[in-house]
């Protein structure tokens, strides 16, 4: 399909700003002025509408397709949260308004949403304080690790050097720790998908700043030894970090703050079904216990004794500003509305159904694909296509087969410690019929791998493109319509 730039016709316009109603016509002094007009597209509004509508039709999305993408929690995004977030009382609100003297009275609705959402997140997770400011899950991780660093600095723990991370962790964990100035140590998992306690003990010492754990892990396994692990880390004054990527599996069943964790982040797109947007914007609120509360970023939203919500900047030990304002407010409104609708019972049901659905698929596919851990899983299960790979059909080939079946592929090749990994997370919003259809397609793929493995090299057949040449993309780099050869 043509690029919007290739549809340009000289002089064509998509929008008219109308004339000016002021008598002034000013000029930028030549020394400061642009030499040539920016070569943006020259298209009509209708050109734009057709172009982007057609582009949208080249996407799979939750609204159009089943998306059993492990670790990504692609559940339905209800429409009412979307329309509430687009109310002009939210979208037209300037963030600096709340910082002006007297400005709090103009922003009470927004501040109340932030305040209440923080309170609910605390109750849901067992932490004493939350900040909603981090702009994505990884941003929450970085914030959490900076809080860890601030804690050690305040305690005079000058030897702290390492953050320990299990091998099943998302890549953001070691990257976040590294950005915050720590070195990382990876510990292996045991045969049940839990943490190898002996391996952990071997690396923990006074240089251990903390441990980052995803619970349930990316293997879909709940760590049974969590209390023992917390004890080992706390014995050296280390901080326990809970990566909330999979919190949606344990709502109402376990609160990280109760079982030894000191800090966590929540991915609102997972637990609170804020939309993925084709890769963001995200939102990664961070919760802490009393140990870390005084280091939280500013501003913080507080409720005065007269019931008025205000921004408070007076925390001398705070790590400071981590973003310009108060978080990705538009997403927080969606999370707030979703939480209001679900309530306590709804949240518990969410996890119940997510885990039920994941186990149903695991059980049905077990005869055809090698499972990594022979046990009940949580919200997702990890298979290996190693048997199929022996027939020449790899996880990526099965993924491309599924695309032709109008199903978004599961996550493949993650966790990285599992060869030919296929990670399946159906989420709580899918029906049994949708899952049965997916299961039958997975079984069909296995059968085809026995009868005609060569056929897989042709998939996907029904898409506008067929297996892009990624090596060429990285070698002959072209990242803009205007770039020639890089």
């Amino acid at each position: 399909m043509e690029l919007i730039f290739e549809k340009s016709v000289a002089g064509r316009k998509g929008f008219d700003f109308g004339g000016s109603d002021v008598p002034t016509h000013a000029h930028i002094p030549p020394h400061y002025a642009r030499w040539e007009d920016a070569p943006l597209p020259q298209v009509s509004e209708l050109d734009v509408v057709r172009h982007y509508t057609r582009l949208s039709q080249k996407n799979f999305s939750i609204d159009t397709h089943f998306y059993p993408l492990g670790s990504c929690t692609m559940k339905y995004n209800p429409k009412f949260t979307e329309s509430l977030a687009r109310l002009s009382g939210f979208t037209d609100l300037h963030p600096l308004l709340a910082q002006l003297s007297g400005g709090e009275q103009w922003t009470q609705g927004a501040l109340q949403i932030l305040y209440e959402l923080e309170q609910w997140m605390c109750e849901m997770t067992g932490f004493s304080h939350f900040t909603l400011q981090p702009l994505a899950g990884a941003h929450g991780e970085l914030t959490g690790i900076m809080l860890m660093a601030a804690y050690h600095k305040a305690r005079g723990n000058s030897k702290k050097k390492y953050v320990i991370i299990p091998d099943s962790a998302h890549g953001t964990n070691p990257a976040s720790a590294a950005v915050a100035g720590y070195e990382t140590i990876s510990v292996p998992s045991n045969k049940d998908g839990g943490m190898d306690l002996e391996a952990l003990k071997a690396v923990v010492n006074e240089e251990t700043a903390g441990l980052m754990m995803t619970v349930p892990s990316t293997f879909g396994v709940f760590e049974a030894n969590i209390s023992a692990i917390a004890k080992i880390i706390h014995a050296v004054d280390g901080i326990m970090y809970y990566d909330g990527a999979n919190l949606n599996a344990v709502l109402g069943r376990c609160r990280p703050g109760d079982v030894g964790f000191d800090v966590m982040h929540i991915n609102t797109h997972k637990t609170f079904t804020t939309p993925h947007g084709g890769g963001g914007p995200g939102s990664g609120p961070v919760g802490v216990n009393e140990k870390l509360a005084r280091f939280l970023p500013i501003s913080r939203v507080v409720k005065r004794s007269d019931g008025v919500y205000v921004l408070d900047y007076n925390y001398p030990e705070s790590i400071g500003y981590i973003a310009s304002f108060y978080g990705n407010f538009g997403l927080l409104v969606r999370a707030y509305a979703y939480m209001l609708m679900l309530g306590k019972e709804g949240l518990i049901d969410t996890s119940n159904h997510a885990v039920l659905n994941a186990n149903y698929i695991m059980k049905k596919l077990e005869p055809y694909y090698k499972i990594c851990f022979d046990r009940i899983c949580m919200h997702e299960s990890v298979f290996s296509a190693s048997q199929q790979a022996q027939r020449g059909v790899h996880a990526i080939d099965i993924a491309k087969f599924l695309i032709d079946q109008q199903i978004h592929p599961p996550t493949v090749y993650f966790p990285i410690s599992v060869p030919e990994a296929i990670m399946i997370e159906p989420t709580e919003t899918e029906s049994m019929q949708t899952m049965d259809d997916f299961i039958s397609k997975m079984i069909e793929a296995d059968k085809l791998s026995r009868t005609d493995p060569a056929a897989f090299k042709e998939f996907p057949k029904t898409m506008p493109v067929f297996r892009p040449d990624e090596v060429k993309a990285a070698r002959d780099i072209k990242t803009s319509f205007f770039s020639t050869d890089l």
């Binding site: 007009d37 067992g126 990382t184 947007g277 973003a323 059980k363 319509f481 770039s483």
Partner: protein
């Protein structure tokens, strides 16, 4: 389903969570119907007053968003899609991001763009880290005209790392060449500049950037994209990395987010860039298509050795900006910028006639400028609020000693009548 799985009840699925790990409390409100939620959240939205006439900017502006922009981005095929890791079923998002990158390059004049970062402040932080990686040096010079909000963000992320920060003052509204040249040396990794600066003044940094390059340092310029309809591009000034807040490109103010951080650079630095980058390639049938490229820089491949910990970009916001830039287009951006300039200049004229107000004129401005008032600006702002105006941003909040200075923004949305009423109201408060 339970029978298929082979368990008696749902609780059996959670047997790994031992009783001692059960919640100590889970005291949350009962759920509500959709109707009740809509009523309650709508009522909260009405407690915010968005009917004040905004003359406030500070890097975040009240621009008109053509209806077609949110209409297209609210298509479920866009906003409920995942990150385009499977290119065959994500060509819509991938091509739109490629077009976004192209438009951002067109706007800034730079050669390469990534597919977006969280916001303007974090983009500036990522750019600084990128410059430190490229030069292998640890000294940063920060111009005092860079947004104080951004400067605070940069300090948060680096105060525990061993970088040296020097801030240089703003003199007569513009960057102090004298002070910058005094600090520039062979240890300097980067000089960070902003155009227009936080006080609204415009500048041409060509001379500063040339001096920085002479000692092997890089230059980052943070820009306001709408101003680039008229202002000299950072590429023409010689900048190495350009970032900015893309909110003004068709995104609502939204009480602070989601926004759009953009980042562009000279092509030779592309492998040091953080964040997702979309590249053009062909498929094995020879057709043009788009993929996430140079992923070996990123955390999901490189883990602790990645160029950044960033996982997500802000795809939907980038899409929104891409559509905005397409519909406004080549001539529209210039017209829009001209309207901003004309209305701000008109406001300056009207306000300068008021006794007691001094419009700072030491440097040219775009759509934002600084007033000196005869009394505390934050008191004036509070009084103006009662009259239905968000009168501006009192600079004393971030610049001690500037309590009587007010930063005023005038976008294309402000009418002559609003500006005139604003001037009358302001005069009454002095």
């Amino acid at each position: 389903m339970l029978k298929t799985i082979g368990v008696e009840n749902i609780d059996a699925l959670f047997a790994d969570i031992r009783p001692e790990h059960s919640p100590k409390s889970f005291d949350l409100p009962a759920g509500l119907s959709e109707f009740e939620v809509v009523r309650r959240v709508t009522a909260l939205s009405l407690k915010n007053n968005v009917h004040v006439t905004p003359f406030i900017g500070g890097g975040f502006y009240d621009h008109y968003i053509p209806t077609v922009v949110p209409s297209l981005t609210s298509r479920g095929e866009f906003y409920t899609a995942y990150t385009p890791y499977q290119p065959e079923c994500s060509q819509g998002t991938l091509q739109a991001l490629f077009e976004y990158q192209s438009s951002i390059c067109a706007l800034t004049g730079m050669e390469v763009s990534n597919a977006s970062l969280y916001d303007g402040g974090t983009a500036l932080y990522e750019a600084m880290m990128m410059a430190i990686r490229i030069t292998g040096r640890h000294k940063v010079i920060m111009d005092g005209g860079v947004s104080p909000i951004y400067r605070k963000i940069l300090k948060t992320y680096t105060h525990h790392l061993s970088y040296r920060f020097d801030e240089t003052p703003v003199v007569h509204g513009q960057s102090s060449r004298e002070e910058i040249y005094r600090l520039l040396d062979k240890e300097t990794a980067v000089i960070i500049l902003q155009n227009p600066n936080f006080f609204g003044s415009i500048d041409d940094f060509t001379d500063i950037i040339q001096k920085a390059h002479e000692v092997g340092a890089l230059a980052i310029v943070s820009v306001y994209p709408i101003s680039l309809g008229l202002l000299k591009t950072p590429a023409d000034m010689g900048a190495d990395i350009v970032t900015g807040e893309g909110q003004s490109l068709g995104l609502p103010l939204n009480f602070g987010g989601p926004y759009l951080g953009f980042m562009t650079a000279r092509k030779k630095y592309i492998r040091k860039m953080p964040g997702r980058i979309v590249g053009e390639t062909v498929d094995f049938k020879g057709q043009r298509c788009f993929v996430n490229t140079l992923q070996a820089r990123e955390q999901h491949i490189r883990r602790e050795k990645a160029t950044s910990n960033i996982c997500t970009n802000v795809s939907l916001c980038a899409l929104q900006a891409a559509i905005f830039m397409a519909v406004v287009g080549k001539s529209g951006l210039k017209e829009m910028a001209q309207l901003n300039l004309d209305k701000a200049e008109y406001a300056k004229q009207v306000l300068s006639r008021i006794k007691g107000i001094e419009v700072k004129r030491s440097a040219p401005t775009f759509n934002e400028f600084t007033l000196h008032l005869p009394k505390d600006a934050s008191q004036v702002v509070a009084a103006m609020m009662k009259k239905g105006f968000a009168a501006g941003f009192p600079l004393g909040r971030y610049y001690p000693g500037m309590e009587r200075y007010l930063l005023v923004a005038v976008t294309e949305k402000r009418t002559k009548e609003e500006i005139d009423r604003y001037a009358v109201a302001l005069q009454e408060e002095l």
